[in-house]
């Protein structure tokens, strides 16, 4: 099937099999490997991308559903490799990542969260973060990073 989709503000046309997962389209067809796959059943959140501005699990969507929609992945955040997005800067300052595998999914989730909730409490941040699993950090520094970013 032929689809035409916009990813990180660039239009792509691709021929895809119906069962191709959206995450696989992004990672292998489009080479945007920043989005990671952790579970393929929608629990870990590593694959979270923005679909028409809203965070979704790209492992629970099919590539064919992307046609006519706008997707943003972690690669859309930094203006340049040495010009990090304020949220990314906050993560670095707070040591909010260790292995970095869950990080892109968390960044996209938190970007959307902060746009809707610009001045969250710690409790609200933890709740918003509860749909993303991290095995390395124990979350504390991630919460600090999001609080820091919200004050910028």
């Amino acid at each position: 099937m032929r689809i035409k989709t916009t990813v990180n503000n660039k239009v792509y046309e691709r021929e895809v099999e119906p069962r191709l997962q959206l995450a696989d389209l992004l990672r292998h067809d489009l080479g945007l490997t920043g989005t990671h796959v952790g579970c393929e059943h929608g629990v870990c959140g590593a694959c979270t991308v923005l679909f028409d501005g809203l965070p979704v699990r790209s492992c629970l969507m099919l590539a064919v559903q992307a046609g006519g929609h706008e997707i943003h992945t972690v690669e859309s955040l930094a203006a340049a490799p040495d010009k990090l997005h304020p949220l990314q800067e906050a993560f670095r300052a707070s040591h909010a990542l260790q292995c970095g595998f869950c990080t892109p999914g968390i960044l996209m989730t938190m970007k959307a969260f902060l746009e809707e909730n610009p001045a969250p409490t710690e409790e609200e941040v933890r709740e918003a973060l509860s749909g993303n699993l991290c095995r390395c950090t124990g979350y504390q520094n991630i919460v600090d990073a999001v609080m820091l970013a919200s004050k910028k």
């Binding site: 069962r19 059943h41 965070p55 099919l62």
Partner: protein, 267 residues
């Protein structure tokens, strides 16, 4: 965990979706939010030969009131239920429960109709629909019919929908005056399926409708004319890796008392 191959068909209207379903019958599944169907397909627990994508069918996407009745179209996302002012005004119980359904990323895609049609007995919204006395509109290419919530859920992952039917709309009646509602659940982690959950609707401080999730192979409805409810007689929890049957029964008792107290205080 990649799905087995299938044929993909997109339907840009309810009628188109129904025509395709009539053609393919049980070999075809509807794809709405996909938040339950796609993981099942990734695990290859579900292997539909045909997927009918109803996301393009915008005529299924609505929330409206008609007289006192709230009508929720099949494509209404759970995220919308959380935020829609009509839902908040007409039926705050829905909003109170829907924030327990998974996480925002799932609610951004998942639909109420899809959740109900999936009929996981541990799911919150079926229990809520039972407590509210909602009706489900089942449409097929041949026509439509209404199924009361109490008749809709027939077993684990099974509903009264026929092979050619789509759950097209959920109708939520107006709540009687002097009615208060509450939803409570106990889950291992936020967003997990509940170990026990209850939706309580109390009218006149004594007429009680309680919808339970994780209390049997379907959501369970317990009705009573007084606040002194025999919860245990009305439920049949199955136990799980997270909760023994005894513990589930214990939780049902605890949550019922707490939910009734809150519902009464709101009525």
């Amino acid at each position: 965990m990649k799905p087995a191959p299938f044929k993909y068909l997109a339907a840009d209207s309810a009628a188109a979706a129904l025509a395709l379903k009539a053609e393919h019958g049980e070999d075809a599944r509807f794809l709405a939010g996909g938040q339950s169907l796609i993981p099942a397909m990734n695990f290859r627990l579900a292997q539909p030969a045909v997927l009918i994508d109803i996301n393009p069918a915008q005529d299924l996407s609505y929330i409206k009131t008609e007289r006192d009745v709230l009508r929720i179209g099949a494509l209404t996302r759970n995220r919308t239920l959380e935020r829609d002012p009509l839902v908040a005004k007409h039926c705050p119980l829905i909003r109170e429960a829907v924030v327990h359904v998974a996480h925002p990323q799932i609610r951004n895609r998942g639909t109420l109709a899809g959740n109900l049609a999936h009929a996981d007995p541990a799911s919150e919204m079926p229990a809520v629909m039972l407590a509210l006395g909602a009706r489900m509109k089942a449409r097929s290419a041949k026509g439509e019919r209404w199924i009361a919530a109490r008749d809709f859920f027939t077993g684990v992952f099974s509903t009264a929908l026929a092979a050619d039917e789509l759950l097209a709309e959920i109708e939520v009646p107006a709540l009687p005056p002097r009615t208060g509602c509450a939803f409570l659940e106990v889950a291992r982690r936020r967003g997990d399926y509940a170990m026990m959950g209850v939706a309580a609707v109390v009218t006149d401080g004594r007429k009680v409708r309680l919808g339970y999730c994780s209390a049997g192979s379907t959501p369970m409805l317990v009705e009573s004319d007084s606040l002194d409810v025999d919860v245990q007689a009305g439920i049949d929890p199955l136990g799980s890796v997270h909760a023994s049957k005894a513990y589930q029964r214990h939780l049902a008792g605890v949550l019922t008392q707490r939910a009734l107290r809150i519902a009464v205080s709101r009525s």
